[in-house]
């Protein structure tokens, strides 16, 4: 039984090797979706057609052409406009609780349930 499982996992990884290698290019649409349009109510750059959104789209295109990575583009934007512009908060001290607490809850909850279980089956 265990052997079967191992073979299976192996096949899966084998398949994934060539099926997942695809994405390497930076998708401007993806970046637009993760930037907030500052002059519109809560919309992203991708969803908005305001003057501001148009300009940002041009700048993002330039930055991609310059060879910047997705993360570099986000940090460029938050440098110019503040953290407010990126929908994905950076992982730093200020935001550490935001990123970590859900997982602490998950782990803590797991222990909690475990403590309810019979110690010997």
């Amino acid at each position: 039984m265990k052997l079967n499982l191992l073979i299976f996992i192996y096949i899966f990884i084998f398949f994934s090797k060539f099926t997942f290698a695809a994405e390497n290019t930076v998708d401007p649409n993806q970046i637009h979706k993760n930037l907030r349009c500052l002059v519109c109510q809560g919309q992203s750059i991708s969803d908005s057609n305001s003057d501001f959104a148009q300009t940002i789209k041009l700048v993002v295109k330039d930055l991609i052409d310059e060879g910047k990575t997705e993360e570099e583009i986000y940090s460029f934007m938050s440098d110019k406009y503040g953290d407010w512009i990126v929908f994905k908060p950076q992982f730093n001290i200020q935001n550490s609780l935001l990123w970590i607490l859900p997982y602490i809850v998950l782990i803590f909850g797991g222990f909690f349930i475990f403590s309810f279980l019979k110690k010997r089956q």
Binding site: F20, N34, Q54
Partner: protein, 626 residues
Amino acid sequence: MLSNLGNILLFLNVILSLGIIYAANKNLKISGGVDKNIFQLSLIQSTSIIICFLVLIAAFIISDFSLITVYQNSHSLKPLFYKIAGTWGNHEGSLLLWSIILSIFSFLFLVYNKNHPKKFRLLTLIIQNILILGFLFFILFNSNPFSKISPIPSEGLGLNPILQDPALAIHPPLLYVGFVGASIYFSAAIASLITNYSEKSFSLSIKNWVLISWCFQTLGILVGSIWAYYELGWGGFWFWDPVENASLLPWFAMTALFHSLIVFEKRNLFYFWVIILCLITFTLSVTGTFLVRSGILNSVHTFASDPSRGVYILIFLSLMIFGSIFLLFQKYKKENYDLNRNSKETFVLVNNWFMMFYLITVLLGTIYPIFTDALTDNKISVGPPFYNAIIFPVVVVFLLFMALGPKAKWIKNKFENIRIYFFILTGAIGLNLAIIFFFKSYSLLSNFIIISALFLIISSLMDVAKALKKNKLDFARIISHMSFGFLVLFIGLNDIFSLEKDYNIKLGETKKFENYSIQLQNLDLKNYKNYQAVIGKLEIRNINSNQTNILNPEIRIYNKPKTLTYEAAIKTSLIKDYYLTMSNIDRSDYYNIKFQKKPLMAWIWISVIMIVVGGFIRLFSNAKNN
């Protein structure tokens, strides 16, 4: 005139609530059944608040602009349907609807729970009426829909045109039945704590109410999401916006609650946990209301907001929270469990575990910006990438548990042939590879999500097969769980196979991409009763199959109040939606068009409906068994 009538009815309701509390309190001390007068008072209360609401509807229908609420939210030229829907489309009117739900649930709970201890029923009634009083005071002193304005304006300011939509007309009532309905098991939980009514039968008094509120909450979220898809013009259906999150938070708590109620009912375990979930659900509803209506959050879904409302709701919320905490601290007794690792009880706890994880994640994401702003003066945004990154990897494991859990037996379960799960997994992985082979490849995480969704679907199907043989079928559970699997599957596939293109285009121009071509053939200017529209005629051609579709997106300029909206043109079919929006570019004769191909959209809606169908089936079978 209507204003006075409305105010009188509101006062009458205050008196009725006080009367019910007084009568119930007096009745507590006497032996015997619940006094008949209390039933009558409660019935009158529900009736009069409904009449009060009808008065407000009447004011909207006849466009009585002497009422500020009508003046601000209606217009004499508005179609009758939207005049009526406008009644609950605004803050003041919606609070009145809240009070109706609070009162009706209060009455029905009293009527339908005759088998439960009198003390418990009366106390539930008292607590519920305290909540009702809280809302009535809020309405009377802060958000009175019957407030007058003078001089009387000759015309109203109109309702936001994007709110003039049938989906949005039914969205708020559905949602309110959901999360305001949660008030009744909040009250019942408090009453149960006070009267020490912690027997199994307590679960019978609330389980149908939990189911009702859950079903309506789910439907409400669905309709809101459909509205966002059709009306906001971005082609998305979920934005992780604070307002949406506010409706999702109680949903997680409700879902956790009715799962652990099953255990409580069968095995008399987790009493305090059930109570806590009851309390949390309504507390989260009120918290959500606070976040949405006080204006401390920046949201896509503009809701007129006002800090003075915030203060009131915050006081109300604090009283609720600290009241429940003190009571809970007083009554809490440590319970010891000794569960088998492999039993239904454990799996239900696992469900609750994940629900709490989702709840904390969404709650944290929603309120974290408030904290960074208040404490460090730094405004941050928490958007879709955060939620996707935190939640989706965990969904994979969750779906697997969701498939295994219901198969486990009470107390102690023997794992049946593990080979079956292995075959299911093989099937799921095989199907996933087939999708990749025939269509396209996608990220590792998407692979896991698709596989686990398929795993849940296949194993639910096998449950059906097995249950049919034994003629013992838990349809409700199977349908809901399977549909949830389908929901995740369709959302996943939709995300993977969506196509999105953005162009600036001039009249007559054609753009080509992949195997499509798109041409702006014509622009038409039309005048309507309350707006002007620029209607585009765009032809989408699938070059491979030579199929063409004409789409007509609009740019609308409404006159009351002056707003510009963009109407998406959507061609829905069973396999895919074409979604097209067009907008003008300032100081240029180009138009910006955004074309999206969104596969399986219809199936996402259907899956959610099926999840709710499962809930209703359970509700009816409960009703039949009682």
